[in-house]
C-alpha cells in the first residue's frame, strides 16, 4: 500500500504536534517551582535517555538480570478511545449547574470550544483528573495566591458522578 504524500505529511505533522503537546504538558510549572528549577527539569528531561543508560550500564547486576527475564505479552481488551459527545457533556454540565440554564447557548458554545472527538491528553484520563484535583486541593491552602481555580468544591461538583434519575430528568 502506498501512502499519499499529503496524508503522510498530515500524519507526520499530527504526530509531531502530539509529541510537542505531550512535552508542553510535562513542563507545566509545578507547585513551589521557580523558573530556574523548571529549566533544570527541562535539561534533565533532555538527557533522560543518557541518564537511564548510564544508570543501567553501571549497575553490576543489570546484564545478569536481563538475561534471566522472559518478556511476555498479555492480551488485554481494547478500551474505547471515544469520548463524550457535546450533548452528553452539556447534559452533565446542566445537571450540576442548573442555574446556568438561562445562559444555555453561551455555555454550550464555550463547552464546544473544548470538545474533541478523541481524548487529547498525554496521560490517562483518570491521571489527568487526579492531577486537577490535587492541584485544586493544593491551592485551597494558598487561597490568597493569584490563581483562577481556587474552589475545590467546584471541582467536586464537576467530577462527582450524579444520580442517573437526575440525568433522565434533565434530558426531558
Amino acid at each position: 500500500m502506498v501512502c499519499h504524500p499529503d496524508f503522510c505529511f498530515r500524519l507526520a505533522a499530527g504526530l509531531n504536534k502530539q509529541l510537542t503537546d505531550d512535552e508542553s504538558a510535562e513542563l507545566r510549572l509545578e507547585p513551589d517551582e521557580n523558573k530556574g528549577e523548571r529549566v533544570l527539569r527541562y535539561l534533565k528531561r533532555v538527557v533522560a535517555w543518557h541518564a537511564a543508560v548510564d544508570t543501567l550500564c553501571n549497575h553490576k547486576t543489570t546484564p545478569r538480570l536481563l538475561k534471566n527475564i522472559v518478556v511476555g505479552v498479555i492480551e488485554v481488551p481494547r478500551f474505547l478511545s471515544s469520548v463524550m459527545t457535546l450533548p452528553e457533556i452539556s447534559d452533565e454540565f446542566f445537571v450540576r449547574f442548573p442555574q446556568k440554564v438561562k445562559s444555555h447557548e453561551d455555555v454550550v458554545e464555550t463547552l464546544a470550544d473544548h470538545c474533541s472527538d478523541t481524548f487529547p491528553g498525554c496521560v490517562h484520563a483518570e491521571a489527568t483528573l487526579m492531577g486537577l484535583l490535587n492541584y485544586c486541593s493544593h491551592y485551597l491552602a494558598h487561597a490568597s495566591q493569584d490563581v483562577e481555580i481556587q474552589n475545590p468544591e467546584m471541582m467536586r461538583q464537576f467530577v462527582q458522578p450524579v444520580c442517573s434519575f437526575l440525568l433522565s430528568v434533565s434530558s426531558n
Binding site: 504526530l15 509531531n16 509529541l19 510537542t20 505531550d22 512535552e23 508542553s24 513542563l27 507545566r28 510549572l29 521557580n34 523558573k35 530556574g36 528549577e37 523548571r38 529549566v39 533544570l40 527541562y42 535539561l43 534533565k44 528531561r45 533532555v46 538527557v47 535517555w49 543518557h50 541518564a51 537511564a52 543508560v53 548510564d54 543501567l56 550500564c57 553501571n58 553490576k60 543489570t62 546484564p63 536481563l66 538475561k67 527475564i69 518478556v71 505479552v73 449547574f97 442555574q99 446556568k100 445562559s103 453561551d106 455555555v107 464555550t110 463547552l111 470550544d113 473544548h114 490563581v147 483562577e148 481555580i149 474552589n151 467546584m154
Partner: protein
Amino acid sequence: MDHIADVQAALSAFDARATDADDRLSSLEIFFLLRSFPKFIARFNEDTRLCGGKRLFEVIREWNPARGAKILPRLFDWPDWLVQFKALPPIPSRVVDGKVKCEFSDVTKRMWSEVLAAFLVGVDKSIGDVKLARGRGEEGEEEAHRAMRQLNKWCRGLYYFVSWEAGIVQRLLTKTSMLNSIAIPTMLEKTASSRCLIDALDQS
C-alpha cells in the same frame, strides 16, 4: 513487543568490563536516541516555550551578570569527561597545591554559563546536521550516522554536566540572575475561552 525485546537484548549484551566498553556504551546510547529521535527533538525544542520564544542558549549568551553576588567560591577536581571535551570555551580553573582545579565563583559564573550554552548549541547544531543528512536520502546515510554520533557526544556531555555533583548547572539556573530576563510562567496556560467558562462558574 519487538522494541522491548530489542532493548533487553541490547542492554544484556553490554559488558562494562569489556575493553571497548566506551564504544559499546555510545552504540547503546545512539540506539536509544534513534528510537526516540522525534520525541527527543520535541523535548529539546521545548526551551522556546520556557524562555518566551527564545532558545535557552540565546538567553544564556545575552546574560550580562552583575558582579558582587554572594556566591561562595568553590573548587572541584577536573572530571574525566570534561578533560575529553576539546570544543568547549575555556574552563575556569585555578592551581591549588600544584593541582589544577575547576573554579566556580562570582567571577567565573559567566564562563561556566558559556560552557552550558556551548553544550546546548552543540546538541542543536547536531540535530540540524542529522536532519540535513537524512533529507539527502541514501546518499546522506553515512553523514547522518556521523552526525548522530556527534549528537550523542554532545548529549552525553550535557548529561555529565547537568548531573555533575559540583552542581554548577543548578547553581547557574537557581542562584544567579541568568534567567531573570525571561517572563515568569503562569500556573495554568489558559485560553481565553476557558477563562470565560471559569468566570461564568465563579459568578454562579
